[in-house]
Protein backbone atom coordinates (compact mmCIF):
# COMPACT_ATOMS: atom_id res chain seq x y z
CA UNK A 1 0.00 0.00 0.00
CA UNK A 2 2.78 2.45 0.92
CA UNK A 3 4.62 1.48 -2.28
CA UNK A 4 1.52 2.36 -4.33
CA UNK A 5 0.96 5.59 -2.43
CA UNK A 6 4.60 6.61 -2.91
CA UNK A 7 4.49 5.81 -6.61
CA UNK A 8 1.25 7.77 -6.98
CA UNK A 9 2.72 10.84 -5.24
CA UNK A 10 5.89 10.66 -7.34
CA UNK A 11 3.85 10.39 -10.54
CA UNK A 12 1.77 13.45 -9.63
CA UNK A 13 4.98 15.31 -8.75
CA UNK A 14 6.50 14.35 -12.12
CA UNK A 15 3.35 15.47 -13.90
CA UNK A 16 3.80 19.03 -12.71
CA UNK A 17 7.38 19.51 -13.88
CA UNK A 18 8.08 22.55 -16.05
CA UNK A 19 6.61 21.84 -19.51
CA UNK A 20 8.87 21.62 -22.56
CA UNK A 21 6.68 24.10 -24.42
CA UNK A 22 3.82 25.83 -22.64
CA UNK A 23 1.80 26.39 -25.85
CA UNK A 24 1.63 22.66 -26.64
CA UNK A 25 0.57 21.81 -23.08
CA UNK A 26 -2.02 24.60 -23.06
CA UNK A 27 -3.57 23.16 -26.23
CA UNK A 28 -3.77 19.78 -24.47
CA UNK A 29 -5.46 21.36 -21.42
CA UNK A 30 -8.06 22.97 -23.69
CA UNK A 31 -8.66 19.70 -25.51
CA UNK A 32 -9.13 17.85 -22.23
CA UNK A 33 -11.48 20.54 -20.93
CA UNK A 34 -13.69 20.07 -23.95
CA UNK A 35 -13.51 16.29 -23.60
CA UNK A 36 -14.26 16.24 -19.85
CA UNK A 37 -16.58 19.25 -19.66
CA UNK A 38 -18.55 19.51 -22.88
CA UNK A 39 -18.40 15.75 -23.43
CA UNK A 40 -20.06 15.07 -20.07
CA UNK A 41 -22.85 17.65 -20.27
CA UNK A 42 -25.36 15.22 -21.76
CA UNK A 43 -25.16 12.58 -19.06
CA UNK A 44 -24.93 15.20 -16.29
CA UNK A 45 -28.05 16.93 -17.66
CA UNK A 46 -30.07 13.71 -17.63
CA UNK A 47 -29.06 12.53 -14.16
CA UNK A 48 -29.39 16.01 -12.61
CA UNK A 49 -32.94 16.62 -13.81
CA UNK A 50 -34.09 13.16 -12.67
CA UNK A 51 -32.31 13.32 -9.30
CA UNK A 52 -33.76 16.78 -8.60
CA UNK A 53 -37.24 15.60 -9.55
CA UNK A 54 -37.04 12.40 -7.50
CA UNK A 55 -35.59 14.17 -4.46
CA UNK A 56 -38.39 16.75 -4.49
CA UNK A 57 -41.16 14.15 -4.87
CA UNK A 58 -39.72 12.00 -2.06
CA UNK A 59 -39.25 14.92 0.32
CA UNK A 60 -42.80 16.10 -0.43
CA UNK A 61 -44.09 12.58 0.31
CA UNK A 62 -42.24 12.37 3.65
CA UNK A 63 -43.38 15.84 4.78
CA UNK A 64 -47.06 15.15 4.17
CA UNK A 65 -48.09 16.69 7.48
CA UNK A 66 -50.44 19.66 7.86
CA UNK A 67 -48.07 21.01 10.54
CA UNK A 68 -45.10 21.36 8.17
CA UNK A 69 -45.26 24.14 5.55
CA UNK A 70 -45.08 22.73 2.01
CA UNK A 71 -42.27 25.15 1.16
CA UNK A 72 -40.00 23.15 3.50
CA UNK A 73 -39.83 20.45 0.84
CA UNK A 74 -38.29 23.02 -1.54
CA UNK A 75 -35.64 23.98 1.05
CA UNK A 76 -34.72 20.36 1.79
CA UNK A 77 -34.61 19.44 -1.90
CA UNK A 78 -32.40 22.50 -2.58
CA UNK A 79 -29.94 21.72 0.21
CA UNK A 80 -29.69 18.03 -0.54
CA UNK A 81 -29.30 18.68 -4.28
CA UNK A 82 -26.62 21.33 -3.82
CA UNK A 83 -24.74 19.68 -0.96
CA UNK A 84 -24.88 16.03 -1.86
CA UNK A 85 -26.67 14.90 -4.98
CA UNK A 86 -25.11 17.25 -7.52
CA UNK A 87 -21.46 16.96 -6.43
CA UNK A 88 -21.36 13.33 -5.33
CA UNK A 89 -23.67 11.62 -7.82
CA UNK A 90 -22.17 13.69 -10.66
CA UNK A 91 -18.67 12.72 -9.52
CA UNK A 92 -19.58 9.02 -9.36
CA UNK A 93 -21.02 9.21 -12.86
CA UNK A 94 -17.98 11.15 -14.08
CA UNK A 95 -15.68 8.52 -12.55
CA UNK A 96 -17.38 6.02 -14.84
CA UNK A 97 -17.41 8.18 -17.93
CA UNK A 98 -14.25 10.28 -17.68
CA UNK A 99 -12.16 8.08 -15.37
CA UNK A 100 -12.51 4.92 -17.43
CA UNK A 101 -11.71 6.88 -20.58
CA UNK A 102 -8.54 8.36 -19.02
CA UNK A 103 -7.33 5.02 -17.65
CA UNK A 104 -7.97 3.13 -20.89
CA UNK A 105 -6.51 5.89 -23.08
CA UNK A 106 -3.26 6.11 -21.09
CA UNK A 107 -3.18 2.33 -20.58
CA UNK A 108 -3.49 1.73 -24.32
CA UNK A 109 -0.72 4.24 -24.95
CA UNK A 110 1.44 2.32 -22.48
CA UNK A 111 0.90 -1.14 -23.97
CA UNK A 112 1.33 0.11 -27.54
CA UNK A 113 4.65 1.81 -26.63
CA UNK A 114 3.33 5.31 -27.34
CA UNK A 115 4.48 6.42 -23.87
CA UNK A 116 7.92 4.95 -24.58
CA UNK A 117 7.93 6.94 -27.83
CA UNK A 118 7.23 10.14 -25.87
CA UNK A 119 10.03 9.38 -23.42
CA UNK A 120 12.49 8.62 -26.22
CA UNK A 121 11.74 12.05 -27.73
CA UNK A 122 12.66 13.64 -24.38
CA UNK A 123 9.07 14.51 -23.51
CA UNK A 124 8.07 14.31 -19.84
CA UNK A 125 5.31 11.74 -20.49
CA UNK A 126 3.48 12.19 -17.14
CA UNK A 127 3.53 15.95 -17.66
CA UNK A 128 2.20 15.76 -21.19
CA UNK A 129 -0.41 13.07 -20.54
CA UNK A 130 -1.51 13.52 -16.93
CA UNK A 131 -1.14 17.20 -15.93
CA UNK A 132 -3.56 18.52 -18.61
CA UNK A 133 -6.16 15.96 -17.51
CA UNK A 134 -5.83 16.88 -13.83
CA UNK A 135 -6.04 20.62 -14.59
CA UNK A 136 -9.06 20.04 -16.85
CA UNK A 137 -10.64 17.87 -14.13
CA UNK A 138 -10.28 20.39 -11.31
CA UNK A 139 -11.62 23.17 -13.54
CA UNK A 140 -14.43 21.36 -15.35
CA UNK A 141 -15.86 19.14 -12.58
CA UNK A 142 -16.84 22.19 -10.42
CA UNK A 143 -18.40 23.82 -13.50
CA UNK A 144 -20.31 20.63 -14.25
CA UNK A 145 -21.45 20.50 -10.63
CA UNK A 146 -22.79 24.08 -10.85
CA UNK A 147 -24.57 23.09 -14.06
CA UNK A 148 -25.92 20.01 -12.27
CA UNK A 149 -27.20 22.08 -9.33
CA UNK A 150 -29.17 24.36 -11.65
CA UNK A 151 -30.65 21.42 -13.56
CA UNK A 152 -31.39 19.51 -10.32
CA UNK A 153 -33.39 22.40 -8.93
CA UNK A 154 -35.10 22.81 -12.30
CA UNK A 155 -35.91 19.07 -12.20
CA UNK A 156 -37.55 19.59 -8.80
CA UNK A 157 -39.62 22.44 -10.23
CA UNK A 158 -40.70 20.28 -13.17
CA UNK A 159 -41.66 17.47 -10.77
CA UNK A 160 -43.82 19.91 -8.78
CA UNK A 161 -45.42 21.25 -11.96
CA UNK A 162 -46.11 17.81 -13.45
CA UNK A 163 -47.13 15.79 -10.39
CA UNK A 164 -48.61 18.60 -8.31
CA UNK A 165 -47.10 17.11 -5.12
CA UNK A 166 -46.22 20.67 -4.03
CA UNK A 167 -47.49 23.91 -5.60
CA UNK A 168 -44.67 25.45 -7.67
CA UNK A 169 -45.01 28.73 -5.76
CA UNK A 170 -44.32 26.87 -2.47
CA UNK A 171 -41.34 25.13 -4.06
CA UNK A 172 -39.87 28.45 -5.18
CA UNK A 173 -40.54 29.97 -1.76
CA UNK A 174 -38.76 27.00 -0.20
CA UNK A 175 -35.77 27.49 -2.47
CA UNK A 176 -35.42 31.09 -1.25
CA UNK A 177 -36.01 30.44 2.46
CA UNK A 178 -32.99 30.28 4.75
CA UNK A 179 -30.44 29.97 1.97
CA UNK A 180 -26.89 29.72 3.33
CA UNK A 181 -24.18 30.42 0.68
CA UNK A 182 -21.79 28.14 2.59
CA UNK A 183 -23.45 25.11 1.01
CA UNK A 184 -22.32 26.30 -2.43
CA UNK A 185 -18.76 26.66 -1.15
CA UNK A 186 -18.85 23.18 0.37
CA UNK A 187 -20.21 21.73 -2.88
CA UNK A 188 -17.50 23.43 -4.96
CA UNK A 189 -14.70 22.30 -2.63
CA UNK A 190 -16.06 18.77 -2.93
CA UNK A 191 -16.23 19.08 -6.72
CA UNK A 192 -12.63 20.31 -6.89
CA UNK A 193 -11.44 17.35 -4.78
CA UNK A 194 -13.51 14.92 -6.85
CA UNK A 195 -12.07 16.34 -10.11
CA UNK A 196 -8.56 15.72 -8.81
CA UNK A 197 -9.38 12.25 -7.49
CA UNK A 198 -11.03 11.01 -10.71
CA UNK A 199 -8.33 12.26 -13.08
CA UNK A 200 -5.25 11.47 -10.98
CA UNK A 201 -6.25 7.99 -9.81
CA UNK A 202 -7.41 6.86 -13.24
CA UNK A 203 -4.33 8.37 -14.90
CA UNK A 204 -2.13 6.54 -12.38
CA UNK A 205 -3.87 3.24 -13.10
CA UNK A 206 -3.47 3.76 -16.85
CA UNK A 207 0.14 4.89 -16.65
CA UNK A 208 1.31 1.78 -14.85
CA UNK A 209 -0.60 -0.69 -17.00
CA UNK A 210 1.48 -3.59 -18.25
CA UNK A 211 0.44 -6.38 -20.56
CA UNK A 212 -2.23 -6.08 -23.22
CA UNK A 213 -5.89 -5.39 -23.91
CA UNK A 214 -7.08 -7.38 -20.89
CA UNK A 215 -4.89 -5.39 -18.50
CA UNK A 216 -6.06 -2.09 -20.05
CA UNK A 217 -9.64 -3.10 -19.19
CA UNK A 218 -8.58 -4.10 -15.68
CA UNK A 219 -6.81 -0.75 -15.19
CA UNK A 220 -9.95 1.12 -16.24
CA UNK A 221 -12.10 -0.92 -13.86
CA UNK A 222 -9.65 -0.53 -10.98
CA UNK A 223 -9.36 3.20 -11.65
CA UNK A 224 -13.14 3.67 -11.53
CA UNK A 225 -13.56 1.54 -8.38
CA UNK A 226 -10.78 3.36 -6.48
CA UNK A 227 -12.06 6.73 -7.68
CA UNK A 228 -15.55 5.95 -6.37
CA UNK A 229 -14.20 4.85 -2.99
CA UNK A 230 -12.01 7.93 -2.63
CA UNK A 231 -14.85 10.21 -3.80
CA UNK A 232 -17.04 8.91 -0.97
CA UNK A 233 -14.17 9.21 1.51
CA UNK A 234 -13.39 12.79 0.40
CA UNK A 235 -17.12 13.59 0.59
CA UNK A 236 -17.14 12.55 4.23
CA UNK A 237 -13.95 14.46 5.06
CA UNK A 238 -14.99 17.72 3.35
CA UNK A 239 -18.48 17.57 4.83
CA UNK A 240 -17.22 16.96 8.36
CA UNK A 241 -14.55 19.66 8.10
CA UNK A 242 -16.64 22.40 6.48
CA UNK A 243 -20.09 21.91 7.99
Amino acid sequence: MFHTLGRYILLIQLSFRKPEKFKVYWAEVMREMVSIGVGSMGIISIISVFIGAVATIQVAFQLASPLVPKSTAGSIARDSTILEFSPTISALVLAGRVGSSIASQIGTMRVTEQIDALEIMGVNAPGYLIAPKIIAGIVMVPLLVIYSMVLGILGGYLACAITGSIPTSDYIMGLRDGFNPLIIQVALVKALCFGFIITSICAYQGFYTSGGALEVGQSATTGVVYSCIFILFADLVVTSVML
Binding site: T108, M109, T112, Q114, A117, I120, M121, G122
Partner: protein, 250 residues
Protein backbone atom coordinates in the same frame (compact mmCIF):
# COMPACT_ATOMS: atom_id res chain seq x y z
CA UNK B 1 29.25 6.54 -31.97
CA UNK B 2 27.62 4.64 -29.12
CA UNK B 3 29.63 2.58 -26.68
CA UNK B 4 28.07 0.19 -24.21
CA UNK B 5 30.21 -1.16 -21.40
CA UNK B 6 29.53 -4.26 -19.36
CA UNK B 7 25.73 -3.96 -19.34
CA UNK B 8 23.85 -6.13 -16.84
CA UNK B 9 20.09 -6.11 -16.40
CA UNK B 10 18.16 -8.08 -13.85
CA UNK B 11 14.39 -8.33 -13.41
CA UNK B 12 13.78 -9.76 -9.95
CA UNK B 13 15.75 -13.00 -9.87
CA UNK B 14 16.02 -13.20 -13.65
CA UNK B 15 19.32 -11.94 -15.06
CA UNK B 16 18.48 -11.01 -18.66
CA UNK B 17 21.72 -9.29 -19.72
CA UNK B 18 25.07 -10.55 -18.50
CA UNK B 19 27.87 -8.08 -19.13
CA UNK B 20 27.44 -6.96 -22.72
CA UNK B 21 29.95 -4.55 -24.24
CA UNK B 22 30.00 -3.24 -27.81
CA UNK B 23 30.77 -0.20 -29.96
CA UNK B 24 28.23 1.00 -32.54
CA UNK B 25 29.82 3.24 -35.15
CA UNK B 26 28.14 6.03 -37.10
CA UNK B 27 27.14 5.50 -40.73
CA UNK B 28 26.75 1.77 -40.10
CA UNK B 29 23.82 -0.55 -39.59
CA UNK B 30 24.55 -2.15 -36.24
CA UNK B 31 22.37 -5.22 -35.79
CA UNK B 32 21.56 -6.96 -32.53
CA UNK B 33 20.35 -10.47 -33.28
CA UNK B 34 19.44 -13.48 -31.22
CA UNK B 35 16.65 -15.89 -30.46
CA UNK B 36 13.47 -15.02 -28.61
CA UNK B 37 14.22 -14.19 -24.96
CA UNK B 38 17.93 -13.66 -25.61
CA UNK B 39 17.73 -10.06 -24.33
CA UNK B 40 17.83 -8.07 -27.61
CA UNK B 41 14.97 -5.68 -26.86
CA UNK B 42 16.04 -5.35 -23.22
CA UNK B 43 19.51 -4.32 -24.40
CA UNK B 44 18.01 -1.77 -26.80
CA UNK B 45 15.83 -0.35 -24.03
CA UNK B 46 18.84 -0.13 -21.72
CA UNK B 47 20.76 1.79 -24.39
CA UNK B 48 18.00 4.36 -24.97
CA UNK B 49 17.22 4.70 -21.26
CA UNK B 50 13.78 3.08 -21.18
CA UNK B 51 15.30 0.54 -18.77
CA UNK B 52 18.05 1.42 -16.31
CA UNK B 53 20.88 -1.13 -16.48
CA UNK B 54 21.56 -2.92 -13.20
CA UNK B 55 25.26 -2.41 -13.89
CA UNK B 56 27.33 -0.92 -16.69
CA UNK B 57 27.02 2.25 -18.72
CA UNK B 58 26.22 3.69 -22.12
CA UNK B 59 28.15 6.48 -23.83
CA UNK B 60 26.76 8.61 -26.64
CA UNK B 61 29.76 10.19 -28.41
CA UNK B 62 31.71 10.04 -25.16
CA UNK B 63 28.92 11.39 -22.94
CA UNK B 64 27.99 9.03 -20.12
CA UNK B 65 24.23 8.62 -20.51
CA UNK B 66 23.30 6.12 -17.80
CA UNK B 67 24.06 8.31 -14.79
CA UNK B 68 22.40 11.43 -16.24
CA UNK B 69 19.21 12.89 -14.75
CA UNK B 70 16.02 13.26 -16.83
CA UNK B 71 16.85 16.90 -17.61
CA UNK B 72 20.47 16.12 -18.51
CA UNK B 73 19.30 13.42 -20.92
CA UNK B 74 16.97 15.72 -22.88
CA UNK B 75 19.66 17.16 -25.25
CA UNK B 76 20.77 13.61 -26.14
CA UNK B 77 17.19 12.40 -26.46
CA UNK B 78 16.54 15.14 -29.02
CA UNK B 79 19.21 13.50 -31.16
CA UNK B 80 17.60 10.06 -30.87
CA UNK B 81 15.03 8.70 -33.29
CA UNK B 82 13.35 5.40 -32.63
CA UNK B 83 11.13 3.11 -34.66
CA UNK B 84 9.14 0.78 -32.41
CA UNK B 85 8.06 -2.76 -33.21
CA UNK B 86 4.41 -1.68 -33.55
CA UNK B 87 5.37 1.78 -34.84
CA UNK B 88 3.90 3.46 -31.70
CA UNK B 89 2.24 6.22 -33.70
CA UNK B 90 -0.06 8.48 -31.69
CA UNK B 91 -3.57 7.24 -32.53
CA UNK B 92 -5.28 10.57 -31.91
CA UNK B 93 -3.05 12.44 -34.36
CA UNK B 94 -2.87 12.44 -38.15
CA UNK B 95 0.26 11.29 -39.96
CA UNK B 96 1.39 14.91 -40.34
CA UNK B 97 0.71 15.73 -36.68
CA UNK B 98 2.68 12.65 -35.62
CA UNK B 99 5.71 13.85 -37.56
CA UNK B 100 5.32 17.45 -36.42
CA UNK B 101 4.92 16.45 -32.76
CA UNK B 102 8.64 16.51 -31.80
CA UNK B 103 9.09 19.67 -33.89
CA UNK B 104 6.23 21.37 -32.01
CA UNK B 105 7.88 20.61 -28.70
CA UNK B 106 11.55 21.09 -29.43
CA UNK B 107 12.01 23.38 -32.41
CA UNK B 108 11.46 27.07 -33.00
CA UNK B 109 10.23 26.50 -36.57
CA UNK B 110 7.15 28.32 -37.87
CA UNK B 111 4.07 26.26 -38.69
CA UNK B 112 4.80 26.33 -42.44
CA UNK B 113 8.42 25.27 -41.84
CA UNK B 114 7.22 22.36 -39.71
CA UNK B 115 4.75 21.34 -42.42
CA UNK B 116 7.53 21.54 -45.00
CA UNK B 117 9.73 19.35 -42.82
CA UNK B 118 6.89 16.84 -42.33
CA UNK B 119 6.28 16.75 -46.09
CA UNK B 120 10.01 16.26 -46.71
CA UNK B 121 10.15 13.37 -44.24
CA UNK B 122 7.03 11.80 -45.77
CA UNK B 123 8.51 12.21 -49.23
CA UNK B 124 11.70 10.55 -47.99
CA UNK B 125 9.72 7.45 -47.00
CA UNK B 126 7.57 7.56 -50.18
CA UNK B 127 4.36 8.51 -48.42
CA UNK B 128 3.44 11.82 -49.99
CA UNK B 129 -0.24 12.82 -49.84
CA UNK B 130 -0.90 10.72 -46.72
CA UNK B 131 -0.60 13.70 -44.37
CA UNK B 132 -4.20 13.80 -43.24
CA UNK B 133 -4.71 10.08 -42.65
CA UNK B 134 -4.88 8.63 -39.15
CA UNK B 135 -2.69 5.66 -38.14
CA UNK B 136 -5.74 3.37 -38.10
CA UNK B 137 -6.15 4.03 -41.84
CA UNK B 138 -2.63 2.84 -42.71
CA UNK B 139 -1.26 -0.61 -43.51
CA UNK B 140 1.48 -2.16 -41.35
CA UNK B 141 4.22 -1.20 -43.83
CA UNK B 142 2.93 2.36 -44.10
CA UNK B 143 2.85 2.68 -40.31
CA UNK B 144 6.51 1.62 -40.19
CA UNK B 145 7.37 4.21 -42.81
CA UNK B 146 5.51 6.94 -40.91
CA UNK B 147 7.38 5.76 -37.79
CA UNK B 148 10.66 6.22 -39.68
CA UNK B 149 9.53 9.65 -40.93
CA UNK B 150 8.76 10.70 -37.34
CA UNK B 151 12.09 9.28 -36.15
CA UNK B 152 14.06 11.34 -38.69
CA UNK B 153 12.02 14.55 -38.29
CA UNK B 154 14.49 15.99 -35.77
CA UNK B 155 17.49 14.94 -37.91
CA UNK B 156 18.74 12.41 -35.35
CA UNK B 157 22.34 11.36 -34.87
CA UNK B 158 21.22 8.02 -33.47
CA UNK B 159 18.48 5.81 -34.86
CA UNK B 160 17.13 2.82 -32.93
CA UNK B 161 14.92 0.30 -34.63
CA UNK B 162 13.10 -2.51 -32.85
CA UNK B 163 12.07 -5.43 -35.07
CA UNK B 164 11.47 -3.35 -38.22
CA UNK B 165 10.17 -6.29 -40.23
CA UNK B 166 7.82 -7.95 -37.77
CA UNK B 167 4.40 -8.50 -39.32
CA UNK B 168 5.52 -7.39 -42.80
CA UNK B 169 5.64 -9.36 -46.03
CA UNK B 170 9.14 -10.10 -47.43
CA UNK B 171 8.92 -7.44 -50.15
CA UNK B 172 7.84 -4.67 -47.76
CA UNK B 173 10.53 -5.83 -45.31
CA UNK B 174 13.18 -5.27 -47.96
CA UNK B 175 11.77 -1.79 -48.71
CA UNK B 176 11.99 -0.90 -44.99
CA UNK B 177 15.52 -2.31 -44.70
CA UNK B 178 16.68 -0.38 -47.76
CA UNK B 179 15.12 2.80 -46.43
CA UNK B 180 16.88 2.44 -43.08
CA UNK B 181 20.15 1.67 -44.88
CA UNK B 182 19.82 4.72 -47.17
CA UNK B 183 19.10 7.06 -44.26
CA UNK B 184 22.01 5.63 -42.25
CA UNK B 185 24.46 6.14 -45.12
CA UNK B 186 23.07 9.51 -46.22
CA UNK B 187 22.98 11.22 -42.83
CA UNK B 188 25.82 9.23 -41.20
CA UNK B 189 23.48 8.11 -38.45
CA UNK B 190 24.48 5.58 -35.80
CA UNK B 191 21.79 3.00 -36.40
CA UNK B 192 21.09 0.15 -34.01
CA UNK B 193 18.59 -2.45 -35.21
CA UNK B 194 17.15 -5.31 -33.20
CA UNK B 195 16.02 -8.07 -35.52
CA UNK B 196 15.77 -11.78 -36.06
CA UNK B 197 15.04 -11.41 -39.75
CA UNK B 198 17.78 -13.15 -41.71
CA UNK B 199 17.14 -11.09 -44.86
CA UNK B 200 18.00 -7.97 -42.83
CA UNK B 201 21.06 -9.65 -41.35
CA UNK B 202 22.43 -10.67 -44.74
CA UNK B 203 21.26 -7.52 -46.54
CA UNK B 204 22.26 -4.60 -44.30
CA UNK B 205 24.27 -6.11 -41.42
CA UNK B 206 27.42 -3.97 -41.45
CA UNK B 207 28.09 -4.83 -37.83
CA UNK B 208 26.28 -7.62 -36.02
CA UNK B 209 26.29 -8.75 -32.42
CA UNK B 210 24.65 -12.06 -31.61
CA UNK B 211 23.13 -12.52 -28.15
CA UNK B 212 22.66 -15.94 -26.62
CA UNK B 213 21.19 -16.38 -23.13
CA UNK B 214 21.93 -12.77 -22.23
CA UNK B 215 25.58 -12.83 -23.31
CA UNK B 216 27.31 -11.58 -26.44
CA UNK B 217 28.12 -14.86 -28.17
CA UNK B 218 29.49 -13.52 -31.47
CA UNK B 219 30.39 -10.24 -33.21
CA UNK B 220 31.18 -9.57 -36.85
CA UNK B 221 29.63 -8.52 -40.16
CA UNK B 222 27.24 -10.18 -42.62
CA UNK B 223 30.27 -11.23 -44.65
CA UNK B 224 31.66 -13.22 -41.72
CA UNK B 225 28.44 -14.88 -40.70
CA UNK B 226 28.47 -17.66 -43.30
CA UNK B 227 31.93 -18.77 -42.25
CA UNK B 228 31.55 -18.73 -38.51
CA UNK B 229 32.16 -21.84 -36.49
CA UNK B 230 30.11 -20.50 -33.56
CA UNK B 231 27.65 -23.30 -32.92
CA UNK B 232 24.91 -21.17 -31.34
CA UNK B 233 25.02 -18.66 -34.19
CA UNK B 234 24.95 -21.42 -36.81
CA UNK B 235 21.96 -23.01 -35.07
CA UNK B 236 20.20 -19.64 -35.06
CA UNK B 237 21.00 -18.36 -38.56
CA UNK B 238 20.91 -21.61 -40.46
CA UNK B 239 18.02 -23.16 -38.58
CA UNK B 240 16.03 -24.22 -41.63
CA UNK B 241 17.02 -26.73 -44.31
CA UNK B 242 16.67 -23.96 -46.90
CA UNK B 243 19.18 -21.65 -45.22
CA UNK B 244 21.49 -24.61 -44.51
CA UNK B 245 21.40 -25.50 -48.21
CA UNK B 246 22.13 -21.86 -49.12
CA UNK B 247 25.09 -21.88 -46.74
CA UNK B 248 26.45 -25.10 -48.24
CA UNK B 249 26.42 -23.49 -51.69
CA UNK B 250 28.58 -20.57 -50.47
Amino acid sequence: MIEIKDIYKTFGENEVLKGISAVFESGKNNLIIGGSGSGKTTLLKCIVGLHEPTKGNVHFDGQEFTSMSFEERVPIRKEIGMLFQNSALFDSMTVEENIMFPLNLFSEMSKSEKQDRANFCLGRVNLKDKNKLFPAELSGGMKKRVGIARAIAMEPKYLFVDEPNSGLDPKTSIVIDELINELTQEYKITTVIVTHDMNSVMGIGDHIIFLHQGKKAWEGSNKDIAHTDNQELNDFVFASKFTQAAKDKL
